[in-house]
């Protein structure tokens, strides 16, 4: 989600809430020699508020499972998730009085820090990455279709080469190497295809020169010099195919960045909620 001026209301509200919490904490926190802060009414209040915010943040996942239920706009839920989720950290810290406590609460605190940090990281990714993807991958396709599009590119490249091999080139005796060009005009291109283009498009193991744009430009420029004019279009087409494949590779990488952080954030959030519930029951009952 892009954090922009439309979040002003949420930012202000969060700041106000945080400010109020800070004031309450500084005025009402108990002396160090008394019972843990978490057990006091204020501490409990911070704990309940913090846990409630965690529950709300976690419900975003459930909200996404029922996209057409009229439960409030998904955008509103997402903003709530971001800002209220962020507020959980200071509230829980106030609840714990900045002490880690026993093993369970220590784990909980670390989980909270990691979840919030991963969430901030994810928010930052969602803020910057879409624009990066839009700029760097103009030939973007649907992520799940990348393999299918790649297969189409491979087929197109093979067709291009097959077609290039059938093109007859009129002899120009003044041209250097005319005889060789006339005999097999597509030979250099075909060799380049077999040596570089096909392995690259098939993503064979090993690093390919075509994976890097600058190197690919140089390679194709060399090939252009070796083929007659009639085959330049074929070279251009193959270059475009390789460029599209590079973009798809870039898109896949960016997409993984954009979504991989969820592999950390989501499971740890679930663990945080579950252990938080355990802590609440244990702390209140015992």
């Amino acid at each position: 989600m892009r954090i922009d001026r439309t979040h002003t209301g949420w930012l202000v509200a969060s700041c106000v809430l945080l400010g109020a919490a800070c004031i309450l904490y500084s005025l009402a926190r108990p002396p160090a020699s008394t019972a843990p802060m978490g057990g006091t009414p204020l501490g409990l209040g911070f704990g309940i508020a913090g846990f409630a915010f965690m529950i709300f943040a976690a419900l975003l996942g459930a909200r996404k499972k029922v996209p057409v239920w009229r439960l409030g706009r998904a955008q509103t839920w997402m903003r709530g998730h971001l800002w209220l989720g962020l507020l959980t950290l200071p509230l829980i810290l106030f609840h714990a009085d900045f002490h880690s406590g026993g093993p369970l609460t220590t784990v909980l605190l670390w989980l909270l820090v990691i979840v919030v940090a991963s969430g901030i990281f994810g928010a930052a990714l969602q803020h910057f990455m879409p624009a990066t993807m839009t700029r760097e991958v103009p030939l973007e396709t649907i992520y799940e279709e990348i393999d299918h599009v790649r297969a189409q590119l491979r087929a197109e490249a093979a067709e291009q080469i097959a077609r290039a091999k059938t093109i007859a080139v009129p002899e120009n005796p003044d041209e250097e190497g005319a005889a060789a060009k006339a005999a097999e005009p597509a030979a250099p291109l075909a060799a380049f295809y077999e040596r570089e283009i096909r392995p690259y498009l098939e993503h064979a193991p090993g690093r390919s020169a075509l994976a890097d744009r600058a190197q690919a430009d140089r390679a194709f420029a060399s090939v252009r010099l070796l083929v007659p004019t009639e085959l330049r279009n074929a070279v251009d087409d193959l270059e475009n195919i390789c460029e599209e494949d590079r973009q798809l590779t870039r898109q896949a990488r960016l997409h993984r960045w954009l979504h991989a952080w969820l592999l950390v954030h989501v499971p740890l959030s679930i663990a945080l909620i579950l252990l938080g519930a355990v802590h609440a029951v244990v702390a209140l009952r015992y």
């Binding site: 029922v66 996209p67 057409v68 239920w69 839920w77 879409p130 624009a131 649907i142 992520y143």
Partner: protein, 724 residues
């Protein structure tokens, strides 16, 4: 208003009355008096060159009846001794150079010249034969035998007036005159497109087909290949070239259907028309009379959105069409409440499928044992040129469908039966070729039109190009606005395919307005509304640089789903929401053109030029006054609209219903019915589901000109213009 007086004349002692402008030949024909002819063909403008049709009108010289207009009080003798002698000499002269038997006489035995000569008892001619003229075998399809040509000009008129190819003409003078292709090039080297019109027009063997056309209809369903003699004996093939029928023998086939057998099914694609020779058939639509509705989510916390079929009686939508009949590809329309009709001998159905390859609009089942002729387009084209058949088809239309079409026009609902009966006889039925303009924007308005067959495009000209307002199909109407106050046409109407329209002349229309003031009031209100909408539309169009929009086709859209790619995290929440809202059938794909940082998702654009509407066999896809595309209850699920949509934005939504099992009478079985659907902007919700479900504020439904106005450097609206 007085009726146009008829002309009274006497033909062969019989008093007849005909409309002004009728030729003596047609006056005789409609009264059952046959006059021989060679150069006259019913579907061509008569030229009177052969003089075979001469008749005695009491003047100094005989008159060629095909071009001589009937006059009041005229006394015509079509067959006196003098007239017969003149014809006899003429035939002798023509036969003197004719290579008898010519190619046509050899192939099918129906050379018109030799037939007339035989009937006149002409054997060997007493006139010397001139030097033979060359053959032209250069064309791969048509053989040219100049020797057999009688210079009747039928081929020239066929090539020019009917087919608009203008390849043939006369060349030379006097006895050296011949027909020529282009500038006297051999036929095979000319611009001839081998359409065959000259060949089917030729009365002799001067132009004959070189090989049997390789078309063949299937031999199933009791097919019996009808012989040329059998076909020529049918009134509908009267005057059709026997050579043509002989060489296209497999393009028309006789089929027998037992009672209960299916002749054709709704939604199937086809390329043939059917003419009923014996028996009756039952025409019906078996798809449920219902449209797709999505609802449920607005009723509560746990309620789920679902898609289901519902009829208009239970769910009236804004601007629902209240037409009572469903237009189909047959001489009748079907009643909405009981979509079944019967056709009998002499009726033709499947013309639109045959001529334009549209899907079958209804299911036809044999009501009794029946015999039909199934034919391909080339045969249908030839049949339709027959005036007798045309008159029969017109009569059937006037009796069975015209009143329904008139009643479907909201303005005509106030008319009484007497006026409708009068209109029925006074309307004119006209045909238009694909691309032919019916009326042009700016021209004086002189007629009101109803669409009888085919599709008509209604478009407006503006600075940036042409804007298509609608595609009209059978039962729709146009031209009423321009008639008010003798105004000018506000749009151009063009036949999109082989279209036939009913024309109500301006004077009849004005008579109706005088007699029914409520009709006039209704018309004026509609005219004002339309002119206001036109004015607003033109003002907006004029304020936006169109080039960039046009390049991406965005100008054609009224509503786009745009995704802001700088916000979109490619999570597909929009697609999932759309699928969830429509029983798993998504109406949007997150893929499409890019304009600046926006992705124009693949979802119904509510196009200004709704190509999806073209060809619907039952006219069930239309647009509201708001220009939103809507699909009516009688959609038969053929999928043509889905194919026509250039953006792939129409889906076929399957529904299961219980229907009679034809193999086990009395039992039911589950059948899958399909109904076309497209994005309806989730009109039952406050906001489209895709927009509602986007967590990143990236998905928006927008009006393109306003949304992109800042990028185009144009003000978003007139209000904003005023504010600045």
């Amino acid at each position: 208003m007085s009726a146009t007086p008829l002309i009274e004349l006497t033909i062969d002692g019989r008093k007849v009355a005909v409309a002004p402008g009728t030729t003596v030949f047609d006056a005789a024909r409609v009264n059952g008096i046959a006059i021989p002819t060679l150069c006259h063909q019913q579907n061509e403008t008569p030229v009177g060159v052969c003089r075979m049709c001469v008749v005695d009108v009491g003047a100094r010289v005989f008159a060629a009846s095909c071009v001589r207009p009937a006059e009041s009080g005229m006394v015509v003798t079509t067959s006196s001794e003098r007239v017969e002698a003149a014809r006899h000499t003429l035939l002798e002269l023509l036969m003197s150079d004719h290579p008898s038997p010519c190619a046509r006489q050899q192939h099918s035995g129906d050379c018109e010249l030799e037939t007339l000569a035989r009937a006149a008892g002409i054997g060997a001619s007493r006139f010397p034969r001139r030097a033979p003229r060359p053959q032209d075998d250069s064309s791969p399809a048509i053989a040219v035998a100049h020797d057999a040509c009688i210079l009747c000009d039928r081929c020239i008129r066929g090539c020019g007036d009917i087919r608009n190819n203008f390849v043939l003409a006369r060349m030379g003078k006097g006895g050296a005159t011949d027909i020529a292709f282009d500038a006297a090039a051999p036929m095979g080297e000319s611009t001839c497109v081998s359409c065959g019109e000259c060949m089917v027009s030729c009365p002799t063997g001067a132009l004959t087909n070189k090989f049997v056309v390789g078309t063949a209809l299937g031999a199933e369903h009791g097919a019996v290949s009808a012989t040329t003699e059998e076909l020529l004996a049918l009134p509908v093939f009267h005057n059709v070239s026997g050579t043509f029928l002989e060489l296209n023998k497999n393009a028309v086939i006789k089929r027998r259907y037992r009672k209960g057998e299916i002749v054709c099914r709704e939604g199937d694609f086809g390329s043939t028309a059917f003419y009923i020779l014996e028996g009756k058939v039952n025409v019906s639509i078996s798809s449920p009379m219902a449209h797709v509705k999505t609802s449920g989510g607005e009723r509560g916390f746990f309620s789920r959105l679902g898609s289901f079929l519902i009829g208009r009686a239970s769910d009236h939508r804004a601007e629902d069409v209240t037409r009572r009949s469903i237009p189909i590809d047959a001489p009748v329309d079907l009643d909405y409440n009981h979509p079944v009709a019967e056709l009998g001998p002499g009726e033709l159905f499947g013309e639109m499928t045959c001529m334009n390859f549209y899907p079958r609009s209804a299911t036809v089942r044999a009501e009794t044992d029946c015999i039909v002729l199934e034919m391909l387009r080339n045969v249908l084209d030839t049949m339709r040129k027959n005036k007798t058949l045309r008159a029969q088809l017109d009569r059937t239309y006037r009796q069975r469908a015209l009143e329904d079409h008139l009643r479907n026009v909201p303005l005509f609902r106030a008319l009484d039966q007497e006026f409708l009966d009068r209109l029925r006889e006074r309307v004119e039925l006209s045909s238009f070729a694909p691309g032919q303009v019916i009326c042009r924007q700016g021209e004086p308005a002189d007629s009101f039109y109803l669409v009888r067959l085919g599709f008509v495009k209604v478009s407006e000209r503006h600075a940036g190009g042409e804007l298509v307002l609608a595609y009209l199909s059978r039962g729709d109407y146009f031209g009423e606005i321009g008639l008010l106050g003798g105004g000018a046409r506000t749009a151009t109407c063009t036949a999109l395919d082989h279209a036939e329209v009913v024309r109500i002349p301006g004077e009849e229309f004005r008579a109706m307005l005088e007699r029914f003031p409520s009709v006039r009031q209704g018309l004026e209100a509609v005219a004002q509304e339309r002119q206001q909408a036109n004015h607003e539309r033109m003002a907006v169009l004029g304020s936006v640089p169109l080039e960039s929009f046009l390049a991406q086709g965005l100008m054609e859209a009224q509503s786009l789903l745009v995704l802001d790619l700088e916000r979109c995290t490619r999570c597909d929440a929009c697609v999932n929401a759309c699928a969830d809202a429509h029983d798993g059938v998504t109406r949007l794909i997150r893929e499409g053109l890019r304009f600046d940082k926006y992705l124009i998702a693949t979802s119904c654009r509510q196009c200004r030029d709704p190509l999806c509407m073209v060809g619907c066999p039952v006219g069930s896809i239309r647009r509201r006054n708001s220009l939103e595309v809507i699909i009516e209850d009688w959609c038969i699920g053929c999928g043509l609209c889905a194919q026509n949509c250039p953006y792939g934005n129409i889906n076929l939504h399957p529904f299961t219903e219980q229907a009679e099992d034809p193999d086990h009478p009395g039992r039911k079985r589950a059948v899958v019915r399909k109904k076309a659907t497209s994005c309806d902007l989730c009109t039952n919700q406050a906001e489209p589901s895709c927009v509602y479900a986007c967590p990143h504020d990236a998905a928006h439904r927008v009006e393109p000109r306003q949304f992109f106005s800042s990028l185009l450097g144009a003000p978003a609206s007139r209000d904003e213009k005023g504010a600045k």
